[in-house]
Protein backbone atom coordinates (compact mmCIF):
# COMPACT_ATOMS: atom_id res chain seq x y z
CA UNK A 1 0.00 0.00 0.00
CA UNK A 2 1.61 3.32 -1.03
CA UNK A 3 2.40 5.86 1.61
CA UNK A 4 1.47 9.46 0.64
CA UNK A 5 4.45 11.66 1.50
CA UNK A 6 3.21 14.89 3.10
CA UNK A 7 4.91 17.96 1.58
CA UNK A 8 7.49 19.19 4.04
CA UNK A 9 7.36 22.68 5.54
CA UNK A 10 10.16 23.96 3.25
CA UNK A 11 8.40 23.12 -0.04
CA UNK A 12 5.27 24.99 1.13
CA UNK A 13 6.94 28.16 -0.18
CA UNK A 14 6.86 26.72 -3.78
CA UNK A 15 10.24 28.38 -4.39
CA UNK A 16 12.05 25.02 -4.66
CA UNK A 17 9.35 23.61 -7.06
CA UNK A 18 9.66 26.60 -9.33
CA UNK A 19 13.41 26.52 -9.33
CA UNK A 20 13.62 22.78 -10.10
CA UNK A 21 11.14 23.26 -13.00
CA UNK A 22 13.11 26.25 -14.30
CA UNK A 23 16.29 24.23 -13.95
CA UNK A 24 14.94 21.44 -16.07
CA UNK A 25 13.87 23.84 -18.76
CA UNK A 26 17.21 25.62 -18.84
CA UNK A 27 19.01 22.31 -18.92
CA UNK A 28 16.95 21.28 -21.94
CA UNK A 29 17.64 24.61 -23.57
CA UNK A 30 21.40 24.33 -23.28
CA UNK A 31 21.32 20.68 -24.25
CA UNK A 32 19.38 21.51 -27.42
CA UNK A 33 21.65 24.46 -28.23
CA UNK A 34 24.61 22.10 -28.17
CA UNK A 35 22.93 19.27 -30.05
CA UNK A 36 21.29 21.27 -32.83
CA UNK A 37 21.08 18.32 -35.18
CA UNK A 38 19.13 16.12 -32.71
CA UNK A 39 16.19 18.49 -32.74
CA UNK A 40 13.49 16.77 -34.73
CA UNK A 41 11.33 19.76 -35.41
CA UNK A 42 10.73 20.13 -39.14
CA UNK A 43 10.72 23.81 -39.96
CA UNK A 44 7.97 23.52 -42.47
CA UNK A 45 8.36 26.03 -45.27
CA UNK A 46 12.14 25.58 -45.52
CA UNK A 47 12.46 21.93 -44.55
CA UNK A 48 10.11 19.44 -46.16
CA UNK A 49 9.39 15.95 -44.87
CA UNK A 50 10.32 13.48 -47.70
CA UNK A 51 7.13 11.51 -48.35
CA UNK A 52 7.31 7.99 -49.85
CA UNK A 53 5.81 7.35 -53.31
CA UNK A 54 2.98 5.42 -51.69
CA UNK A 55 1.76 8.53 -49.89
CA UNK A 56 -1.78 9.39 -50.94
CA UNK A 57 -1.46 13.10 -51.63
CA UNK A 58 -2.69 15.26 -54.50
CA UNK A 59 -3.94 13.47 -57.60
CA UNK A 60 -1.91 13.11 -60.75
CA UNK A 61 -3.47 12.36 -64.17
CA UNK A 62 -0.83 10.39 -66.00
CA UNK A 63 -0.10 10.96 -69.68
CA UNK A 64 0.82 8.82 -72.65
CA UNK A 65 4.07 9.11 -74.57
CA UNK A 66 2.61 11.78 -76.85
CA UNK A 67 1.60 13.90 -73.87
CA UNK A 68 -2.14 13.36 -74.15
CA UNK A 69 -4.10 12.12 -71.16
CA UNK A 70 -3.96 8.38 -70.52
CA UNK A 71 -7.53 8.51 -69.15
CA UNK A 72 -10.22 7.00 -71.41
CA UNK A 73 -13.13 8.57 -69.48
CA UNK A 74 -14.53 5.18 -68.45
CA UNK A 75 -16.01 6.70 -65.26
CA UNK A 76 -14.91 3.80 -63.06
CA UNK A 77 -13.18 6.19 -60.66
CA UNK A 78 -16.26 8.41 -60.54
CA UNK A 79 -18.37 5.33 -59.77
CA UNK A 80 -16.04 3.97 -57.11
CA UNK A 81 -15.43 7.29 -55.34
CA UNK A 82 -17.22 7.24 -51.96
CA UNK A 83 -17.45 11.00 -51.86
CA UNK A 84 -18.57 11.25 -55.54
CA UNK A 85 -16.23 14.16 -56.07
CA UNK A 86 -15.05 13.25 -59.60
CA UNK A 87 -17.06 14.49 -62.61
CA UNK A 88 -15.96 13.63 -66.12
CA UNK A 89 -17.45 14.56 -69.52
CA UNK A 90 -16.29 12.28 -72.32
CA UNK A 91 -16.06 12.93 -76.03
CA UNK A 92 -15.22 11.09 -79.21
CA UNK A 93 -11.57 11.18 -80.22
CA UNK A 94 -10.95 11.54 -83.97
CA UNK A 95 -8.24 8.88 -83.93
CA UNK A 96 -10.27 5.62 -84.30
CA UNK A 97 -8.13 3.47 -82.01
CA UNK A 98 -8.41 6.07 -79.23
CA UNK A 99 -12.18 6.11 -79.18
CA UNK A 100 -13.00 7.94 -76.00
CA UNK A 101 -11.16 10.64 -74.04
CA UNK A 102 -12.20 13.17 -71.39
CA UNK A 103 -12.82 16.80 -72.35
CA UNK A 104 -13.16 17.76 -68.71
CA UNK A 105 -11.96 15.84 -65.66
CA UNK A 106 -12.74 17.63 -62.40
CA UNK A 107 -12.11 16.61 -58.82
CA UNK A 108 -13.85 18.66 -56.13
CA UNK A 109 -10.91 18.52 -53.71
CA UNK A 110 -13.02 19.71 -50.79
CA UNK A 111 -15.18 16.61 -51.05
CA UNK A 112 -12.27 14.28 -51.69
CA UNK A 113 -11.28 12.08 -48.73
CA UNK A 114 -7.96 10.98 -50.32
CA UNK A 115 -8.85 7.32 -49.89
CA UNK A 116 -7.11 6.19 -53.10
CA UNK A 117 -10.05 4.09 -54.35
CA UNK A 118 -9.95 5.92 -57.68
CA UNK A 119 -6.35 4.85 -58.06
CA UNK A 120 -7.39 1.23 -57.47
CA UNK A 121 -10.41 1.42 -59.76
CA UNK A 122 -8.54 2.79 -62.74
CA UNK A 123 -7.90 0.01 -65.28
CA UNK A 124 -5.21 1.90 -67.17
CA UNK A 125 -3.26 3.64 -64.35
CA UNK A 126 -4.55 7.02 -65.53
CA UNK A 127 -4.95 8.53 -62.05
CA UNK A 128 -2.51 8.28 -59.18
CA UNK A 129 -2.22 9.82 -55.72
CA UNK A 130 1.06 11.68 -55.89
CA UNK A 131 3.65 12.12 -53.06
CA UNK A 132 2.90 15.83 -52.67
CA UNK A 133 0.79 16.60 -49.59
CA UNK A 134 -2.67 18.27 -49.74
CA UNK A 135 -2.62 22.01 -50.42
CA UNK A 136 -4.65 24.36 -48.26
CA UNK A 137 -6.01 27.47 -49.98
CA UNK A 138 -7.91 30.66 -49.21
CA UNK A 139 -11.67 30.54 -49.35
CA UNK A 140 -12.02 32.29 -52.69
CA UNK A 141 -9.61 30.16 -54.69
CA UNK A 142 -10.72 27.37 -57.11
CA UNK A 143 -11.09 24.07 -55.25
CA UNK A 144 -12.31 22.07 -58.26
CA UNK A 145 -9.08 20.89 -59.88
CA UNK A 146 -9.35 20.53 -63.66
CA UNK A 147 -7.16 18.76 -66.21
CA UNK A 148 -4.25 21.15 -66.42
CA UNK A 149 -4.09 21.37 -62.61
CA UNK A 150 -4.28 17.59 -62.23
CA UNK A 151 -2.02 16.59 -65.10
CA UNK A 152 0.09 19.52 -66.23
CA UNK A 153 0.73 21.55 -63.04
CA UNK A 154 4.23 23.02 -62.93
CA UNK A 155 5.82 20.60 -60.50
CA UNK A 156 4.81 17.59 -62.63
CA UNK A 157 7.13 18.85 -65.34
CA UNK A 158 4.91 18.12 -68.34
CA UNK A 159 3.05 15.11 -66.96
CA UNK A 160 3.91 11.75 -65.41
CA UNK A 161 4.14 8.81 -67.83
CA UNK A 162 1.61 6.02 -67.23
CA UNK A 163 2.78 2.42 -66.84
CA UNK A 164 0.05 1.11 -69.14
CA UNK A 165 1.23 1.72 -72.65
CA UNK A 166 -1.05 1.35 -75.66
CA UNK A 167 1.44 0.08 -78.19
CA UNK A 168 2.71 -2.64 -75.89
CA UNK A 169 -0.89 -3.75 -75.12
CA UNK A 170 -1.73 -3.87 -78.81
CA UNK A 171 1.44 -5.87 -79.50
CA UNK A 172 0.33 -8.49 -76.95
CA UNK A 173 -2.96 -8.66 -78.85
CA UNK A 174 -5.16 -7.35 -76.11
Amino acid sequence: MSVVKRPSQKSKWYIPGVLTGLGITIRHMFFNLLHRKDIFTIEYPEERYPYSDRFKGNHILTVKKDGSLRCTACMLCATYCPAECISITAAEHDDPNVEKYPISYEIDILRCVFCGLCEEACPVDAIRMGPEHQTAALAGSRFVYDINKLAYRPNLKGGVLSHVDDEERKARGL
Binding site: F40, T41, I42, E43, Y44, P45, R48, Y49, G57, P82, A83, E84, C85, D108, I109, L110, R111, C112, V113, F114, C115, H133, Q134, T135, A136, A137, L138, A139, F143
Partner: protein, 160 residues
Protein backbone atom coordinates in the same frame (compact mmCIF):
# COMPACT_ATOMS: atom_id res chain seq x y z
CA UNK B 1 8.10 61.74 -30.62
CA UNK B 2 4.99 61.27 -32.69
CA UNK B 3 7.18 59.79 -35.44
CA UNK B 4 8.53 57.21 -32.96
CA UNK B 5 5.00 56.50 -31.72
CA UNK B 6 3.90 56.09 -35.36
CA UNK B 7 6.73 53.61 -36.07
CA UNK B 8 5.95 51.77 -32.83
CA UNK B 9 2.29 51.71 -33.91
CA UNK B 10 3.30 50.12 -37.23
CA UNK B 11 5.40 47.44 -35.56
CA UNK B 12 2.65 46.61 -33.05
CA UNK B 13 0.02 46.49 -35.80
CA UNK B 14 2.25 44.27 -37.92
CA UNK B 15 3.05 41.94 -35.05
CA UNK B 16 -0.56 41.97 -34.05
CA UNK B 17 -1.48 40.58 -37.43
CA UNK B 18 1.55 38.33 -37.43
CA UNK B 19 0.61 36.49 -34.30
CA UNK B 20 -2.55 34.50 -33.99
CA UNK B 21 -4.06 33.34 -30.77
CA UNK B 22 -5.76 30.15 -31.77
CA UNK B 23 -8.81 28.57 -30.26
CA UNK B 24 -9.34 24.98 -31.39
CA UNK B 25 -12.41 22.82 -31.88
CA UNK B 26 -10.32 19.76 -32.77
CA UNK B 27 -13.00 17.09 -33.31
CA UNK B 28 -12.45 13.82 -35.15
CA UNK B 29 -9.23 12.48 -36.58
CA UNK B 30 -8.23 15.92 -37.86
CA UNK B 31 -7.97 16.93 -34.19
CA UNK B 32 -4.94 14.69 -33.87
CA UNK B 33 -3.41 16.22 -36.98
CA UNK B 34 -3.89 19.64 -35.41
CA UNK B 35 -2.16 18.29 -32.33
CA UNK B 36 0.77 17.21 -34.54
CA UNK B 37 0.91 20.63 -36.09
CA UNK B 38 0.79 22.17 -32.63
CA UNK B 39 3.42 20.08 -30.84
CA UNK B 40 7.10 19.49 -31.25
CA UNK B 41 7.52 17.93 -34.69
CA UNK B 42 5.83 20.71 -36.66
CA UNK B 43 5.44 23.33 -33.92
CA UNK B 44 3.24 26.08 -35.32
CA UNK B 45 4.44 28.45 -32.65
CA UNK B 46 7.35 29.08 -34.97
CA UNK B 47 4.81 30.69 -37.26
CA UNK B 48 3.42 32.82 -34.45
CA UNK B 49 0.36 30.83 -33.45
CA UNK B 50 -0.14 30.69 -29.71
CA UNK B 51 -2.72 28.96 -27.58
CA UNK B 52 -5.39 31.19 -26.18
CA UNK B 53 -6.72 30.12 -22.83
CA UNK B 54 -10.18 31.50 -23.52
CA UNK B 55 -12.10 32.13 -26.75
CA UNK B 56 -12.46 35.79 -25.84
CA UNK B 57 -8.68 36.15 -26.06
CA UNK B 58 -8.43 34.27 -29.41
CA UNK B 59 -8.65 35.72 -32.89
CA UNK B 60 -8.14 32.49 -34.89
CA UNK B 61 -10.74 29.70 -34.75
CA UNK B 62 -9.70 26.30 -36.11
CA UNK B 63 -12.53 23.85 -36.61
CA UNK B 64 -12.31 20.24 -37.66
CA UNK B 65 -14.43 17.10 -37.50
CA UNK B 66 -18.04 16.17 -38.30
CA UNK B 67 -20.48 18.93 -37.47
CA UNK B 68 -23.44 17.54 -35.59
CA UNK B 69 -26.05 19.65 -33.80
CA UNK B 70 -24.00 19.93 -30.59
CA UNK B 71 -20.81 20.95 -32.39
CA UNK B 72 -22.76 23.40 -34.53
CA UNK B 73 -24.06 25.02 -31.34
CA UNK B 74 -20.54 25.20 -29.93
CA UNK B 75 -19.11 26.71 -33.13
CA UNK B 76 -21.72 29.45 -33.25
CA UNK B 77 -21.33 30.35 -29.58
CA UNK B 78 -17.53 30.34 -29.72
CA UNK B 79 -17.51 32.41 -32.91
CA UNK B 80 -19.76 35.05 -31.35
CA UNK B 81 -17.64 35.36 -28.24
CA UNK B 82 -14.30 35.69 -30.03
CA UNK B 83 -12.84 39.12 -30.59
CA UNK B 84 -13.42 40.38 -34.10
CA UNK B 85 -11.79 40.20 -36.65
CA UNK B 86 -11.90 36.41 -36.32
CA UNK B 87 -10.15 34.22 -38.89
CA UNK B 88 -11.53 30.75 -39.31
CA UNK B 89 -9.70 27.75 -40.72
CA UNK B 90 -11.82 24.69 -41.55
CA UNK B 91 -9.76 21.52 -41.59
CA UNK B 92 -10.71 18.21 -43.13
CA UNK B 93 -13.50 17.12 -45.48
CA UNK B 94 -15.85 16.48 -42.56
CA UNK B 95 -15.86 20.13 -41.57
CA UNK B 96 -15.73 21.58 -45.10
CA UNK B 97 -18.31 19.48 -46.97
CA UNK B 98 -19.21 16.58 -44.72
CA UNK B 99 -18.49 14.26 -47.67
CA UNK B 100 -17.02 11.25 -45.79
CA UNK B 101 -20.27 10.60 -43.97
CA UNK B 102 -22.64 12.05 -46.55
CA UNK B 103 -25.62 9.80 -47.24
CA UNK B 104 -26.54 11.80 -50.40
CA UNK B 105 -30.07 12.00 -49.05
CA UNK B 106 -31.47 15.22 -50.53
CA UNK B 107 -33.72 15.72 -47.51
CA UNK B 108 -30.89 15.61 -44.94
CA UNK B 109 -27.75 17.30 -46.36
CA UNK B 110 -24.70 17.35 -44.00
CA UNK B 111 -24.16 20.50 -41.91
CA UNK B 112 -20.87 22.20 -42.88
CA UNK B 113 -18.83 24.83 -41.08
CA UNK B 114 -19.15 27.33 -43.91
CA UNK B 115 -22.95 27.14 -43.52
CA UNK B 116 -22.55 28.31 -39.88
CA UNK B 117 -19.72 30.83 -39.94
CA UNK B 118 -17.68 32.55 -42.69
CA UNK B 119 -14.49 30.55 -43.30
CA UNK B 120 -11.21 32.07 -44.49
CA UNK B 121 -9.03 29.08 -45.29
CA UNK B 122 -10.02 25.54 -46.25
CA UNK B 123 -7.65 22.64 -45.71
CA UNK B 124 -8.85 19.68 -47.82
CA UNK B 125 -7.79 16.19 -46.76
CA UNK B 126 -8.98 13.40 -44.64
CA UNK B 127 -7.00 14.09 -42.48
CA UNK B 128 -4.68 16.67 -44.05
CA UNK B 129 -0.98 16.38 -43.13
CA UNK B 130 0.31 18.86 -40.51
CA UNK B 131 2.25 20.59 -43.31
CA UNK B 132 -1.08 21.38 -44.96
CA UNK B 133 -2.27 22.98 -41.72
CA UNK B 134 0.91 25.01 -41.47
CA UNK B 135 0.44 25.95 -45.15
CA UNK B 136 -3.05 27.16 -44.13
CA UNK B 137 -1.56 29.31 -41.37
CA UNK B 138 0.91 30.83 -43.85
CA UNK B 139 -1.88 31.48 -46.36
CA UNK B 140 -3.88 33.18 -43.64
CA UNK B 141 -0.96 35.37 -42.68
CA UNK B 142 -0.31 36.30 -46.31
CA UNK B 143 -3.98 37.27 -46.51
CA UNK B 144 -3.78 39.39 -43.35
CA UNK B 145 -0.50 41.13 -44.29
CA UNK B 146 -0.38 41.45 -48.01
CA UNK B 147 3.05 41.74 -49.46
CA UNK B 148 6.11 39.62 -48.76
CA UNK B 149 5.99 38.02 -45.31
CA UNK B 150 8.84 38.68 -42.87
CA UNK B 151 10.08 35.21 -43.65
CA UNK B 152 10.59 36.05 -47.32
CA UNK B 153 12.17 39.37 -46.39
CA UNK B 154 14.59 37.49 -44.11
CA UNK B 155 15.44 35.01 -46.86
CA UNK B 156 15.96 37.81 -49.36
CA UNK B 157 18.41 39.40 -46.96
CA UNK B 158 20.23 36.15 -46.27
CA UNK B 159 20.55 35.37 -49.92
CA UNK B 160 22.31 38.48 -51.04
Amino acid sequence: MSWLAGRLEDVVRRLEKQNQFSWLIPNGCCGHEIKNARLATYDWERLGVFKASHPEQANLLIVSGWVNSAVAEEIKVTYDRMIKPVCVIAIGSCAITGSPFDTFDPKRPPVTVSSLIPVDVYVPGCPPRPEAILRAILELQSKLNPGPSHREVLHEALRD
